[in-house]
Amino acid sequence: MPLLTATGITRRYGGVVALDNVSIEVNAGEVLGLLGANGSGKSTLSSILAGDNRPDAGTLSLDSHRLPPGEPRAARAAGIAIAHQHPGLAPDLPVWENVFLGAEMCRRGRFLNRTAARRRAAQLLSSLRAGWNLDLPAGQLSVADQQLVEIAKALALEPRVLIFDEPTAALAAAEVESLMRVIRALAARGTAIVFISHRMAEIQALCDRVMVLCNGRHAGEIPVQGKLDEARVLAWMGGAADVDMHGESAAARRHSQHSPRMSAVITASAPNDISPIALSARGLRAGARLRGVEFELRQGEILGVAGLQGHGQEELLDALAGYRKLDDGEITLDGAPIAVRSPREMIDAGVCLVPNDRHRQGLWLDHSVEFNLAQVAANFQREPWRLRSASIRQLVDFAVKRLRIKTSDARQPVRALSGGNQQKVVIGRWLDRRIKVLLLSDPTKGVDVIARKEIYEAIGALTEAGAAAIVYASDTDELLAVCDRLIVMYEGRVVAQLEGPDMNEARVTSALFGRSAA
């Protein structure tokens, strides 16, 4: 008799289907692992289970009682708790108060029972890691500690169903061990656990069963009896049913020795060892996320940056664009060293960024397509007291046609466009500039398949004249299909540089998980 059941869950964001008719069941005392590549829908599913997100279709029930979807309080009252991937803590409140945020331990009249709460918080926290300063404001904690507090917060609710969304991403080995002990104890007591993680070792050690999502669909389910069939699971994650830009299935591609250049899509001549170096970086360090990155980029080349989320790829591109401050490191552009001070200087030098979060960093949602496309031109125009409307119109027409941006009229607000077309707008604004290096941070996130192809065509167009591109994408298959060379980042460093025959899924996947290239 399953404890938590969700049937037929569908969730759409604009034109993109995040979850398509997914059903999931968890039994009391069971640990169910949930696996899937970035963008497969795991986080969406877990937030729907916890009531933080309302599905477009589907039902939820706990112990055969129907739950109203999209109501966090109802879910919490029923006994479902979630430890989010990104901790939801109040940064100014002390650690022990954050553990009980919204579920304070009270005496009569809702007055806080501080001593009991501190004691219980200390208990919960020490089960995860020894030695806490309970009074430290949560914002001053390291990422790992914030994650632990988020976990303790979920534990404090003493729920019947506990969902962990990538809890170990930031944790060190000892903390992971403690967490696993805690989870096993909870399962033994009858709690149903959903455990989302990228780390195969943990899934194998902890889970009774594993369910794999791929592109928002249920791809497969398999029991784990001490041994996880990694090959099968990876195959499910890779999406045997997924068809790429060439029309080849990913499985077929994986069998090929060399990763095929998108020669049908990108017409630039393939770079080789004697192409000049467009950009080189050495010893790049920034905060906790970049811990010493080194690589070279040749003219005309498309370099892919692969890695699990949060291992520094986004920070690398931001730093190269002048958007994030580098603590240390040297960068040369066309052989000459360059001091990276501000995005404007970098754009002047020919390095531009297509940012990660197109809504927050790349677009003026309430302004027209034309405004968005023409902004770079407006910023660098020599006669600022007028607008070169003729050349702007030219640029807009060219961009819309070249990138096939689907818009009824260039005066339409960008908000009305689909994700893929919005992304094309972000890319299209660079079309009329002389670019040396184009940095793209996850350009196809939340974009449908057809638009993805068109976007990569756009990247190809921009590299035609000898420009180079660095693309970070969370979908490794795309990188394999599109890029000439690949670097893989793990915990802030480049752990693998792959090209030619080495550019295959197996090598990439093992590098993704930090395993030394076999």
């Binding site: 940012p355 960093q361 309430d366 405004f371 023409a374 902004q375 770079v376 600022p384 009305a416």
Partner: protein, 322 residues
């Protein structure tokens, strides 16, 4: 977006007409030529302060320039003093006064801008504090310097003249308003300002000099306020402390009514100008109906709240449709 633009302009125009018609019915003579001319003059000042507020609000970050009143007083006093001290024979008085006022305004504006961008003081607090400082400084100045700050004949003439029945300062407003409209709608400068205000990150990543743009916006805002102060002296006849203070609240009201977004990056000066006409007509009507300041304050506040909630709903609805 063009549909909402025209609809707001239309709504405000309709309101102006309503007030005019209602005024004429309630108080005969409300719409005769003299009255209209006078109202137009008052609307001019409000419209000019509206430019200041529009620029500050469009620069984003919950931007407001609450120092426009104090800066107008500053400009007015300095301007009047300069004219009166200038040698009588040469026609340099007025230009010098305008330059002096503009420089004072620019100084205050730069300080405002730097405080807001470099020291990250919220615009509200920064401009309010500057206003208090400027007011205090003027108290000191007026107690130390005993300069005649009555409006010179040039200023009075400037403010009083009419061209074919239309007050010349209204023509000035028309020119200024057109310039502002051009600036916002048809120039790269305007695009940079809107981009910076609406999404400073995106602006930064497309090569905008975000800090410089915001400092420039506050500088321009203060300079316009100062120059308007000089004109105001001509209209009122005398420069005095508190000359501009009544315009702070109303300039904000006018900008909000005109649809300038507090979040930054969006605004249409034509709507703001029509809003200035509306508020002026409304104030005249209330005065003609003998409704005192009490009623006016309440009505302004209520109008602002109604328009705010309307703004909020339309934004919310658009966001949901996305």
């Amino acid at each position: 977006m063009s549909a909402t633009l025209t609809s707001r302009r239309m709504l405000l125009l309709v309101l102006v007409v309503l007030v005019m018609v209602g005024g004429q019915w309630a108080v005969p003579g409300f719409t005769n030529a003299d009255q209209l001319g006078n109202q137009l003059k008052i609307a001019t000042f409000l419209g000019l302060f509206g430019i200041s507020q529009t620029l500050a609000m469009m620069a984003g970050g919950q931007g407001l320039d609450l120092s426009v009143g104090a800066v107008a007083t500053l400009g007015g006093i300095i301007g009047a003093a300069v004219i009166n001290v200038a040698p009588a024979g040469l026609p340099v008085g007025l230009p010098l006064a305008l330059v002096a006022a503009a420089l004072c305004g620019a100084l205050v504006g730069v300080v405002n801008g730097c405080g807001i961008t470099v020291f990250k003081v919220p615009p509200l607090v920064m401009t309010l504090a500057m206003a208090s400082l400027v007011d205090g400084g003027l108290i000191v100045w007026s107690s130390l310097m005993h300069v005649n700050t009555a409006a010179s004949t040039t200023l009075v003439a400037l403010a009083g003249r009419s061209v074919a029945g239309v007050p010349s300062i209204a023509v000035l407003w028309l020119v200024a308003g057109t310039a502002v409209w051009w600036f916002l709608d048809r120039s790269a400068w305007g695009r940079r300002l809107m981009a910076t205000g609406a999404n400073p990150t995106a602006a930064l990543l497309t090569g905008a000099r975000v800090r410089a743009v915001r400092i420039a916006a506050y500088t321009a805002s203060a300079m316009i306020a100062a120059l308007t102060g000089v004109l105001l002296v001509g209209y009122v006849g005398q420069a005095f402390l508190g000359l501009g203070s009544g315009y702070v609240l109303t300039s904000v009201v006018v900008a909000v009514l005109g649809g300038v977004s507090l979040g930054g990056g969006r605004g249409d000066y034509i709507a703001v100008a029509i809003a200035a006409l509306f508020i002026t007509a409304l104030t005249s009507l209330l005065t003609a109906l003998q409704i005192g300041e009490a009623g006016r304050q309440c009505i302004f506040g209520a109008t602002l709240i109604v328009f705010l909630t309307m703004n909020g709903w339309s934004v919310g609805r658009r966001a949901m449709a996305a």
